[in-house]
Symmetry: D4
Subunit: 251 residues, 8 copies
């Protein structure tokens, strides 16, 4: 409907019943959401090829499959996070080429992806952090970054981390997942000059308080290049790191 209104306006211009200046002004004065958010939409269409994302937790397998296939039909890449085996089976039945990442609890479908732009390194402190780290890595890959995965480099065995120093220093942005005391981002942040997105994981027991200890540790990290996302939010970290690694989209 709105689109028709714009076209009609342009037809008036075509019919010389208005001037370009008037139309330009008119377009600027369209309802906020129609123009204000059309920019957003326009912007969105400019970014065409950006994946759509489904948060599957709390949705039925049928719902996830329906949404996934509807989105896939538009030709964009699609990512579903927090999926279980039932979600996976249901989506696979609906969209056979989908890829199921069991460890990361993700489903991804890549359609006409652009060339990777920027390099994201995804680190995790222990093997128990791997599901969250993989969620971040898969997100970053699908959104268009080149990804290097480094696992099991907790600070209690510093040599394992330092052995990967060259990889760290080649990153444009780093995602750093850790549970328990969440000390890894503090150490990594001091070794590199790029932004580090810290992801506290709910790994640990007792006074780990389901990720709260790691969260607090990361918020208080003494390196100034560290910012933090919600506990277990691998997707958010991967997404932000990709934006950073791609760099400003200056027109």
């Amino acid at each position: 409907m709105r689109r028709e209104a714009v076209i009609e306006l342009l037809r008036q211009l075509e019919a010389h019943t208005t001037t370009p200046e008037a139309v330009a002004a008119r377009l600027a004065s369209l309802p906020f959401e129609d123009l204000g958010f059309a920019k957003l939409d326009h912007h969105r269409s400019l970014r065409s090829g950006m994946p759509e994302v489904i948060f599957a937790a709390g949705k039925t397998p049928e719902q996830v499959a329906t949404i996934f296939s509807r989105l896939a039909a538009t030709g964009v890449s699609v990512l579903a996070t927090r999926v279980d085996a039932d979600h996976a089976a249901s989506v696979r039945a609906a969209v056979p080429p989908v890829e199921y990442h069991e460890l990361a609890r993700c489903l991804s479908l890549s359609q006409s992806p652009p060339a990777p732009q920027g390099h994201v390194v995804v680190l995790c402190a222990g093997t128990s952090d791997l599901p969250i780290a993989e969620e971040a890595a898969i997100t970053a890959e699908l959104f268009g970054a080149r990804v290097t995965r480094i696992a099991d480099v907790g600070v209690a065995g510093l040599h394992r981390l330092l052995a990967r120093l060259d990889d760290l220093r080649r990153a444009d942005a780093i995602v750093c997942c850790a549970g328990m005391e969440g000390a890894l981002p503090s150490v990594v942040g001091g070794l590199v000059a790029v932004p580090v997105i810290a992801v506290p994981t709910s790994v640990g027991y007792g006074a780990a308080f389901e990720g709260v200890a790691a969260l607090l540790g990361m918020l208080n990290a003494c390196s100034p290049n560290i910012s933090v996302v919600n506990i277990d939010n691998g997707f958010g970290a991967g997404y932000i790191a990709t934006l950073i690694a791609r760099g400003p989209q200056r027109s």
Copy 2:
């Protein structure tokens, strides 16, 4: 330099003026950073011109003045955060050209700054958030970003925020400061496509719990482009936003 020192040592061996055992012992006794972390130092020297930063809280005016003037003497820009009036007086006496930002509780000295690179928008929800927002803005400017300040755009008066939509959309990175319920980043994150660094402030009373309510709100923000720093950490947010706005430093 370090590499030359090692080669010189090896040349002595080649010239038989020392023994393999002595060289091995010498290598083992070199300070750790001389081998492994020379890269870091080298890297630092590459970034030459980056400001040095002093966290003044808990330091005496004399200590801050001493550190500030020593750093200033090296020719780099210098930033001191969390300064009070006594710190300011003391540093000004030692380094006259320093600039005192009373609201932001900062002292800055800009020396041979590079041309600004990237555009950071610093938002705050209410006038009480201004000190933290200013800390972020001053940091971003000193570290080399172009900065736009937008104040008093809390979500309860949405039209004030929406009126600045164009500014928001021209940003390469956004710093968003808010106390109380900390809802501003959620709204801003949905309006832009760039990373938003959310800074919870300790503004509010009662169940604001000195910034905890805002912190939790920001960690749970539903836009995926939001990451969070510590309560009242304007410096960190300004620093990260500058790194993001400058973009990857690909060699």
Copy 3:
């Protein structure tokens, strides 16, 4: 009625068919509520037609069915909240015309309802908040309000909310359900002039802390027309909004 009983007693005294001592004893032995709280009962009878409510959680299907049918037999409308499928089956067997709202986990039976009075708008931020929003909406309808439901208008997609501005502004009271950061009431409160009842939901993960982040956000909302109920308390919010929308019952 109670007043009549007292007067009848006093008439017997006047008629000398009893003694002052006996009347004093009789008055003292009346159930407490008969003197002081008869007003409450009277008041209750004035409100005749107000639904009775059963909180089903922790009660057996048989208990809920028994209470429900006993209340239904008195001719009033009845609402049961927090019911599961077993509760529903059991009540349906006992009171066939009952309506089961699976999403809202409610059972309702409307008997000779009065004409709706006042307009309540029930909003929710995300689809996961729908069960709580529906509980509020069903409550408001059964207690006598006209209800408009608006779903999935989270603040990260502001245009969806703004598109419903006219609906918001026609409300006499608003119920606003949100989990995660709970920012929706802050935004809505700034757009309308009527009371907003904010319901934090336990939707979210990690630092959402089962609704605590949303609760704190809402308590600190900067609009002054917002008050808050317990986490997931859709019923309470719907009830209060209905009282407000109906307006003062001035005699």
Copy 4:
């Protein structure tokens, strides 16, 4: 500027370069903030006479005096909350007729107030809750409600509360302030049929945790007609109660 655009549009209509229908449609499509928020503004102007409010905490006496006198000059009533003696002196010097409520830490200036509409009862549990209760009462009076104050009716001396039952039952809305265990709203909520706005106060010691115990108690109150505002937020409670007591403003 915007106003000129509208006038220009109307001039086109006058010049027959457009039709009334087109202009109506065009007006509807004006940028959101220009028309959408004009409604708000319009609405605001309809309510003309509504007081403006200043939160003084964290502002200097000079700032408060400047804002207060600027607002007062527009002819509206003005309320300043959380003022100290310095704020009061400064404002009094600038706006002599202002009234200083020392206990409530408020300054009020009533200008051409409308006739009171609706009856708000403000209760407090103990004498230490009086400052918050007074803030609520003064707010309600200034915003146009008739107010009855009832002090020192804590639940440990139930007879004092029950002695005021008639007053409670004449209220259109009740503000109920209590610290410590915050039990008063639960009891009051069971005695009346109107909405109760519960205000936890920071009164108490030890496990009162500066109002947290009262806040939790009120959020869990078993009467369904209770909603809660932030700790010590007398202003918010008085404002909401006034909105409720005035009743829906149906056009």
Copy 5:
């Protein structure tokens, strides 16, 4: 007995069949409790007839049955708390006359009970608090108090509580169980002059935080005759109330 053993030892010394050094060594090697804590044991035997108590949670049915029957064989009364159906079946098989209180999750065996001494009233706010109230009541009965149970007298329906005022005032000690906001003890404490043992229950949802809200409310109760036990600790409350109701055992 123990005293006799010591005297016997000393007699051997007196009879020169041993030496002072040997006796000193023997005394030093006696089990600690035999010297210092024999009084405690003696005290215990004085109280003979007091029930023994088993906390069944975390023990297997077999373990509980074994302990229960061993204790029962000594002739004392026995109480097992926090039992489930399996515990009950297992103990019943071993000790047929045991009584199973399903609601209270207790097993009790009364053997040669003394005449009741003192009157304990056990109150609960809602029907969901009944299991804890029953645990308190059964404990008090088994330990020798006369018990009156009063259920469902939450403060939101004050008349129900006030109707039982005479019962309350006949108590020597009161146990008061409540979840949610835990306001009942505050009200009850103001109505009586005897000690009130408050038991927060884990009843409620959301911000009830599994009994924390009730616990805080009770700790802050404004009546000075209230003390508190752990969340859901009906046993402890019943035990303490019985001690109080029996009164000091002055010799």
Copy 6:
């Protein structure tokens, strides 16, 4: 007295000097407490001689002096808690014979005290707990108990506690004050058979969290004869212990 007033009213009816309607209206208009709560007042007068208590914190010296002297004039004993030096000076000027307990921050005036009844032992773990322990001891003495004070018997020096075992075992009730880890009640509770009132104190630093660690420790104490009052609530503990030590007041 009240009963007489009612009978007098009824006699007037019997004498036809009034009408049933007038009597009913009169009865309805009597203050609530006159009918329902006269018992309470009566009860209070029975306890004549019980001290009145003033919580001075947050009251001005003048207010405390006024209340204190008004109460003293009625002939009862009076206790003021949480007084500072200014309160003390002001009350002393108004009521010269008052006693000022500086350590306990109390003022007491004993008027025609009854003979002590029952024995309360007040223990404290460390010397820093003395102010709270003294508040409990002074309260217990003024309310009519014989009091034994035992200081500095923390569990880390067990022999000091065990050396006072005989004193502990002569108590009818025990008040046990401890900060830091709050372990003393657990140990004491196991050594005696009477009720122990545990008072967590705000003594300690760091993870003592102003008494929270001690509070939690006491609520979880494994002896079943322990109940707890608010942090630093020496008065409440002393009052309850006195009620217990006096024993049931059976008529």
Copy 7:
């Protein structure tokens, strides 16, 4: 070994079969740990015979079995903690001589153990703490300490603890496990002169908060010889106690 490799490289240089530049490059390209952290590895090989440890929680039975057998094949002792029955079955199939400690949820394989060195006493307050105490005891034994176990010596029955005083005083280090109020370490710490490692357990209910009450109690213990590990971390406590009991390994 590594040192030899370096010397070999240098010998080649001395023998002119390589150049200084090549050697410098070779040294720079050695894995980081080979230069800086070879000491760590060397150190590790010195400690040869120390058991390897697997944290089984969150790993599949197959994973645990694979890791266990691979480690066992190297000839060292192996410990797996937090194993369930499935883990046990799987490891037993792969490594038949493994020992399964069901209560402690551990699997241990002792291979050529050194003679015990040092004496560790492992205490627990109640029988519910036994699994954690056993985990500590088994760890200490496998790592080379002589272990004495003392169970069920909670502070509410002090005589049981004091009866074991001699055992306590023979310890070189003590592990002390307690849930609920966690008071045992405070008492034990006062009775001995050696370091006490306190382990809070998640035993308890209600305000025990899954071990938090015990944790806070232990952190605030007034004896200065107490340090604390994470809730339920029996392994860590056993390991540290063993290090302490063995004493400094001075070369």
Copy 8:
């Protein structure tokens, strides 16, 4: 001494100057510590020369001076912690040779110290942690350890820490102080094989929560050789490290 008293008593019996009954009564009436806890005292005298410690916080300068000089007079070393300038002046006046450590807020007096035994390394992450680290170092020195101090080796500048690796590896026990995220012990624990005592400091702001973030981080440290003391408890850490570094005192 005590043993002699008992033997003397028994000799009297042997000499028939008393009776077995009288001796039994005498033994039973001996103060508890005289039998059971004489060992403790004996033990204490064995450790003669161990310093006595005064916790000055909350004590007046006069009290601290009195206790300090009384202890000093016995010839032992004395340590006072948490002293301010007034304490220091007062103690210096009474005990001139005392040493005042202003940064560490300690007073120490060393009298005939034994030769140092064992090597304690005290680390701190930042300069703000120095007061706590110094308290630990001074404690360790006074109690008889050789101490190495390493300051400002936070994990964000890893090379500074690694440069001190040799020092770390020469320690018999390590005290590791850190605020903010408290990550230093995790890293240090992985680099050494000796016990690490972690001290969370209250350094930091915002979500550091006065040391809670560091405390949680340390409790969750992934190296198994780390145990934790209370926030800012430098004294306790220094004391425990000294016990460990000295090693078992095997007789």
